[in-house]
């Protein structure tokens, strides 16, 4: 394992601080294996629930000048199918590979049920998606906006997860992100993933004078949200003791460094795959290494959270 990039997180050690974010290439073992091979320290599955879901019609994922906008609508093959894929990934990638399982539920109880099923394949982490903005018309406001919901779901998932650590994935769309992170901490969460997509936002085609996304609105990700994500990570790291997976708009080693300097333990990348493809993980690892070598830095710890000092 690369000494420079070696990352310890919740009792496990990963070869790189980079993680594949949920929702991007996280549907099958073979694509997640490719991302691990390219140098990601861990991969997060697409969020899955109890039942298969088709999601919204297309266009569901669109690039625009500043990033991506998506309203996939939590399409997923359901927990049974995902457990199969993740088992396969475990076999292919080895027992030490980093696999994070992202779960969601339509009700508080469902979060617990999906988690109980997901722990069967012993993921390294259960990531709890309380923050998807694309299905609010169906599920009501995202749970992540409500303190009581987050508190309750955190407790339920923690109980269902047993010895597997739990990260709550937060949205910046809540009255106070700091308060929300503290609630996660107080209720037993082991980590925070910040942030999910921002918005929702929308795009209109001026030719047909109609919204372009089939769902009209969708979550915004990619470069447009990097400063928002960075500030969220900075705030959570400054106000809780929980380790944070920094997520949002990272496309370069410099942006990954900024996340780590703001305090992130791991840095996850989703939309970056659109800009730099799968090899982005290889390139960022390489650039992080040379940045550290140039400064004679031996370990990520040396500069993690420096901006708080």
């Amino acid at each position: 394992m690369d000494k420079l990039l070696k990352t310890s997180f919740l009792g496990k050690t990963y070869p790189s601080p980079l993680v594949l974010a949920s929702g991007v290439l996280g549907l099958t073992a073979d694509s997640m294996k490719r991302v691990l091979d390219a140098g990601a320290g861990a991969v997060t599955t697409k969020s899955f629930g109890l039942e298969p879901r088709k999601g919204h019609p297309c266009p569901a994922i669109l690039p625009f000048d500043g990033g991506l906008i998506n309203a996939v609508g939590l399409s997923n093959p359901g927990v049974d199918e995902m457990v199969k894929e993740i088992r396969k990934l475990r076999e292919q990638a080895g027992s030490s590979s980093g696999i994070f399982a992202s779960v969601f539920g339509r009700t508080h109880e469902e979060f617990g049920e999906v988690t109980r099923r997901a722990v069967e394949f012993e993921p390294n982490l259960i990531e709890v998606n309380v923050s998807c903005p694309n299905v609010s018309s169906e599920f009501g406001t995202p749970f992540g906006a409500n303190e009581m919901d987050v508190e309750h779901i955190t407790r339920i998932v923690k109980k269902a997860a047993g010895s597997i650590p739990v990260s709550i994935k937060l949205t910046i769309h809540c009255p106070s992100l700091i308060r929300m992170a503290k609630i996660c901490e107080e209720n037993g969460a082991d980590a925070i993933t910040a942030i999910n997509t921002v918005g929702p936002g929308m795009l209109i085609d001026t030719g047909v004078m109609k919204p372009v996304l089939a769902n009209t609105v969708g979550g915004v990700s990619g470069p447009a949200i990097f400063p928002l994500a960075l500030k969220a990570v900075y705030e959570i790291c400054g106000n809780t003791r929980l380790p944070v997976i920094g997520t949002g708009g990272v496309r370069t080693a410099d942006e990954a460094l900024q996340m780590i300097m703001a305090g992130a333990r791991m840095v996850s990348i989703g939309s970056g795959v659109y800009y730099g493809d799968i090899e982005l993980f290889t390139r960022i690892n390489r650039d992080l290494r040379s940045w550290m070598k140039e400064r004679d830095i031996k370990n990520l710890k040396e500069f993690r959270g420096v901006v708080h000092e």
């Binding site: 290439l25 549907l27 073979d30 694509s31 266009p59 359901g78 085609d205 030719g207």
Partner: protein, 262 residues
């Protein structure tokens, strides 16, 4: 950037049969390789992938067969309507001499544009096309005009009666063909790959999977055995790439990502 959504007016519509139409647009980007595809957005309905069936004198053609809700709605599209186009996505065919083009059903669509380019280069090639019936096979005149062409249909209504694969072996044996291009139903493609490999021929084959984003990030079109994303590293695969895939002939994943076993 061509990945961004933009709407274009339909310049013309041509009917091939009651359930098959071509739509013509101003060519949105230069140099479109045959085999690549566009995501076509019917505003207010849905967006689906379609191969380029031709690019000629600055006009691009897309050819659609009505098989379900989206493609049936496409049959109502009129000249002047605005459709969204994103693309071209994926990798297309490269150019080879002495090739056999093997197409089945709507698989003949990308081969039509390939045939135009091979002919423009003065390459020798031959064509073998199959379908359920004669009406199922578009562009018969173009293919016949540009190259020696054999038709095979299930019901014998055009050319030989039978399956494409039955005639492919003879074609390869008889002539000096050294390369195979193929596109069509997967059962046919599996046979074509087998026969080509047996004959020691190199090939490029176009595959289909359920697609959502077209830009290599949603993971919907990934095939097992390789992690190849057909929207990005395909839809056309080389022999080396295709041989790595372990799921040819299996049920495809549906919109949920589940293998559709029905």
């Amino acid at each position: 950037m061509s990945d961004l959504m933009r709407t274009y007016p339909v310049l013309n519509v041509k009917s091939h049969s009651p359930v098959m139409k071509s739509f013509y647009f101003r060519q949105p980007v230069p140099d479109i390789q045959p085999g690549r595809f566009f995501n076509v957005w019917l505003p207010g309905v849905d967006e689906k992938p379609f191969s380029v069936s031709d690019v000629y004198q600055g006009i691009m053609e897309i050819t659609v067969k009505a098989v379900g809700p989206f493609t049936r709605k496409m049959m109502d599209v009129r000249r002047g309507d605005l459709l969204g186009l994103r693309g071209p996505f994926g990798r297309g065919f490269s150019h080879h001499q002495h090739a056999l083009l093997v197409g089945g059903g709507m698989g003949v669509v990308p081969l039509r544009y390939l045939a135009r380019q091979l002919r423009q280069r003065g390459f020798h090639f031959e064509v073998l096309l199959g379908g359920r019936c004669g009406q199922d096979i578009p562009f018969q005149n173009d293919f016949s005009e540009w190259a020696p062409t054999t038709f095979v249909t299930d019901d014998g209504s055009l050319g030989y009666k039978g399956l494409v694969a039955d005639y492919m072996q003879d074609k390869i044996r008889e002539s000096r063909l050294s390369f195979v291009y193929s596109s069509g139903p997967e059962a046919m493609l599996v046979k074509v790959m087998d026969l080509a490999a047996q004959a020691g021929l190199d090939y490029e084959i176009s595959f289909e999977r359920y697609m959502k984003c077209g830009i290599g990030i949603c993971g919907q079109c990934v095939v097992d055995g390789s992690g190849i994303r057909l929207c990005k590293e395909g839809p056309v695969l080389t022999r080396q790439e295709a041989e790595k895939v372990s799921e040819w002939g299996l049920p495809h994943r549906d919109a949920t990502g589940r293998r559709n076993n029905s």
